[in-house]
């Protein structure tokens, strides 16, 4: 991912250039969806939150001080929205986390999804982002505001834990 390009696209988007913002969406959508999915463990909710995040981001671009930090900034918006949804779930006591119906055409990955859902947050989020965004560890690090080596280490640990749980 080219940070300078992110910067220029953000600057153009702030001036109302939709095409530039679409480029940003295409670049960050999968990573953000991975984050939302990992936090909510419900694909439909994750899609809704992701879309809401990008729409809000477009409206609030003027609040972004440093254009090169777009990825981190948009991730924070998504995180806040996910936390809101999790809070609402807690209030309504809806346990939808593990009850998601698998996509009819996607095959049955319920065991895998359940095992992923039971991973700790620190492991689950980079793992899901890694597989949904084509193994781009640098982009994940940029979104999560951490180093690439930390992301690699957490993904490896997540895989190991997943292996242990699936082979029990």
């Amino acid at each position: 991912m080219d940070e300078r390009s992110d910067q220029s696209l953000t600057a153009r988007s702030r001036l109302g250039d939709k095409a530039a913002y679409e480029q940003l969406v295409l670049r960050h959508y999968r990573n953000l969806l991975g984050l939302c999915y990992a936090m909510l463990m419900n694909f439909n909710d994750a899609q809704d939150v992701c879309q809401e995040t990008f729409l809000r981001g477009f409206e609030k671009l003027r609040d972004l001080r440093d254009d090169s930090l777009f990825a981190n900034w948009i991730t924070q918006i998504a995180r806040r929205l996910c936390v809101d949804i999790l809070r609402q779930r807690k209030k309504k006591q809806i346990v939808s986390t593990l009850n998601e119906q698998p996509c009819p055409s996607a095959g049955d990955y319920s065991d895998l999804t359940t095992a992923i859902a039971r991973l700790p947050d620190d492991y689950r989020i980079p793992l899901v982002m890694y597989y949904l965004d084509g193994h781009d560890e640098r982009a994940i690090a940029s979104h999560l505001g951490t180093s690439q080596s930390t992301v690699c280490r957490r993904i490896q640990a997540a895989k190991q834990l997943l292996h242990e749980r699936l082979s029990e």
Partner: protein, 258 residues
């Protein structure tokens, strides 16, 4: 079923599955995998899991694409409200503060500029003539009436305070001196005890040496007595032999009589 790979290769296997090993490290690991059954099984299990996760992610791909397209459509339909390039009122508090400061400064300088002229010398002369003597008299009277008793009271208070402080410091000095004396006495007593114990030790050592010497003397005496006895026995035997040579008959008869 859990697989237990070699502990020193486990991390390498996991890194290899993520593509984080160099070519030489990968070749080395592959060599080990061809020899070690448990490591190979662990590697294959991780690869299998990776494929499963990739397939899971691929199964969501169409839905992701649909969601992305939907978002792009919503964005295209959205009204554009471009943000202003410059934000003049963003720091309005700052500019308000600056304006207030400027107004205050302007008011101050204006007041200085337009203040009425005062003849200070004339004013001082009038004050000296009319008001100063009266004020001095009143001030002196007030000092005499009010301040004097207060000063006396203050002096007494100060004297009391000083006396108290001197007494306190004297008491502290005495206490310190007593403590110091007690400490010195303790040290002196300790020194005496040390010397006494050392003397006792010396006397005890001297007695031990004397006892040792006495034992040695006793042994030597016993030895001398033994050797003397032996020498005496030998001498008697020799004398007896000489006597038997000189007068065998006598000796024999005496032996027979005996």
């Amino acid at each position: 079923m859990n697989i237990n790979p070699c502990p020193n290769h486990k991390t390498d296997i996991e890194a290899c599955c993520c593509g984080h090993l160099s070519a030489s490290q990968t070749a080395s690991l592959k060599k080990h995998l061809s020899e070690c059954n448990s490591c190979r099984r662990y590697y294959e299990a991780l690869i299998q899991q990776d494929k499963q996760l990739t397939a899971w992610a691929d199964s969501l791909d169409s839905r992701i694409q649909a969601g992305q397209n939907s978002l792009l459509q919503q964005l295209r339909e959205k009204e554009v409200h471009p943000a202003p390039a410059a934000q003049p009122f963003r720091y309005s508090y700052f500019w308000n503060a600056v304006a207030a400061g400027l107004l205050i400064a302007a008011g101050f300088f204006a007041a200085r500029l337009f203040q009425p002229a005062v003849n200070q010398e004339k004013l001082f002369a009038e004050w000296s003539r009319a008001i100063q003597p009266q004020m001095e008299q009143k001030l002196a009277a007030a000092v005499a009436q009010q301040l004097r008793p207060e000063l006396v009271q203050m002096r007494n208070d100060l004297a009391d305070k000083m006396t108290t402080q001197i007494n306190d410091s004297a008491a502290q000095t005495v206490a310190l001196s007593q403590a110091m004396n007690a400490k010195l006495i303790r040290e002196f007593a300790d020194a005496i005890q040390t010397v006494q114990s050392r003397d006792r030790q010396l006397v005890s050592d001297a007695f031990s040496r004397m006892e040792e010497k006495r034992q040695q003397d006793k042994k030597q005496t016993q030895k001398a007595v033994t050797s003397l006895a032996m020498a005496t026995g030998e001498e008697i035997a020799r004398t007896r032999r000489q006597l038997s040579e000189v007068s065998p008959v006598l000796f024999d008869s005496s032996n027979t009589n005996q």
